[in-house]
Symmetry: C2
């Protein structure tokens, strides 16, 4: 249970985790159309309001949505910021993966060479070099 990279910078895990659930993605999709109250969000989701409330809590904890009081109701609002965070992470590695994909053969050859650094080669490190 001892993480080597502490939760310090791990603002990302809760966001991905939040969106890993289809119900929550639907909530996000719905909220993209406009703010809504909890019960409004719950309505189309044949599942208890409490369950939706929990889902919203997860979304809120991840920073994807915020809630503001509106009398007894809570107005739920979709936030854009965290999307950016996620997009940045994804794009970074997607670009790498795509770049590598495009010149795949060439790169694979290259990797092979790096892989066998001549000499005795007690253990070969593949691609780790960056």
């Amino acid at each position: 249970m001892d993480r080597q990279q502490p939760a310090q910078t791990d603002q990302l895990s809760p966001v991905f985790a939040a969106l890993a659930d289809p119900t929550r993605r639907e909530l996000v999709a719905r909220l993209a159309l406009g703010d809504a109250t909890v019960s409004e969000l719950a309505e189309p989701h044949d599942m208890s309001v409490q369950a939706i409330s929990k889902h919203l809590k997860v979304l809120e904890a991840s920073g994807l949505v915020t809630k503001t009081r509106d009398a007894q109701r809570r107005r739920v609002h979709l936030e854009a910021e965290v999307f950016d965070l996620m997009t940045k992470w994804i794009e970074r590695y997607r670009r790498e993966a795509e770049r590598r994909y495009q010149r795949l053969d060439a790169l694979l050859e290259e990797m092979q060479q790096i892989e066998q650094p001549a000499a005795d080669s007690g253990r070969q490190r593949t691609g780790g070099a960056a």
Copy 2:
């Protein structure tokens, strides 16, 4: 347990779920630099090789990586396609959220009006209208 939207189109959940784990994100980050074998990937992660193998299985199931045999080793390769899938989903709603954010005040006013449709108002629907 009865989903209203079956797992049919839910290719997305496994991807988000896969990236919800920091260890797996590190694996992806590492793989962006180049293919690697399981044990190479395991090395920096003070955790058993079996654990990493499990993580890779999750990544593989999500479509983020593929494995090819290379003698006894398995060469793990990062795939770009699924990134696209995710990016598309995110961008779609991020854009909405941002657009709404930019004209926030105006929209909030608008919502308020929709919210009180005059008349008796047995139940008011907020933002559901798109």
